[in-house]
Symmetry: C2
Subunit: 160 residues, 2 copies
């Protein structure tokens, strides 16, 4: 057991193997290649279950014998983001494994400003934004929704 990004414990080993299996079958179905670097990159993000910077991931990859230059990490991360297995957290310039792999979703995140934990929630884009886009004639392709605040454990009234 471990502390999950949803601020609640979960069976982490199971969640890792499920995510990897989902990634494999999805790639196969799409004709995309889950190569060793890419697979290892996803594993690293899943193991930590935290938002990680590209250079943190790169350091881990390097110790595993992969290339140690930035493009190695960025390419793998971008591939995983494109495939929907990993999300980018704009606010943190960081990456996190998707918590709901295999489902087509529009992710939203809750970022604790104290401990840095990031939790993923599904989200419909806000009403205000949807209306504004419609009336402005703007065609939305993707949304970034990130809330900053305090997770349960970091709130003043949290148990010590």
């Amino acid at each position: 057991m471990n502390h999950h990004a949803d601020f609640a414990p979960h069976d982490h080993a199971a969640c890792v193997t499920t995510a990897l299996r989902t990634a494999e079958t999805t790639c196969t179905a799409r004709g995309a290649q889950l190569t060793p670097v890419r697979r290892r990159t996803l594993e690293i993000l899943l193991e930590n279950h935290l938002a990680m910077g590209a250079y943190d991931v790169l350091a881990r990859l390097a110790t595993d014998g992969f290339g140690a230059k930035p493009p190695v990490a960025y390419r793998a991360l971008n591939f995983l983001v494109d495939q929907g297995f990993v999300h980018r957290i704009e606010r943190l310039n960081a990456f996190i494994a998707c918590a709901h792999p295999g489902t087509d979703h529009d992710p939203a995140f809750m970022i604790c400003r104290t401990c840095g934990t990031v939790a993923e929630a599904d989200s419909a884009p806000g009403v205000g934004l949807r209306d504004s886009a419609a009336s402005a004639g703007f065609h939305i392709e993707q949304t970034v929704v990130e809330a900053q605040g305090l997770c349960p454990a970091c709130q003043p009234d949290a148990a010590p």
Copy 2:
């Protein structure tokens, strides 16, 4: 007349002077100082009415005789963001003058991936996120909502 970030024409000169006046009175009321660098920084963002990178702003400040080192721009920009006169666009690592100065709001943005124009809309955080936060016990302090897509002028069916 000019092209406004709301993808519609507007009286730009009036919007600039209004925004500056609002900033002045708000600062006075709060005991904050709208110093020359800070005021000029706001003017630059208002003139362009585009999302600008900190280094673009810095270059403009430098030609106006202010310091030419990054902290000069970042300090002024952060001040303006703190005061609510300027918003940061996380997705672009850029800054844009607030389109509704003086109102307390939770901004949302529409970013055109073709021409880079950014429009601001007021937004209530999405239902999904609000629910997730409530059920997770997460206390939201601030939200980042940024939609990418195509503005009216950049859509395939736009007039040539």
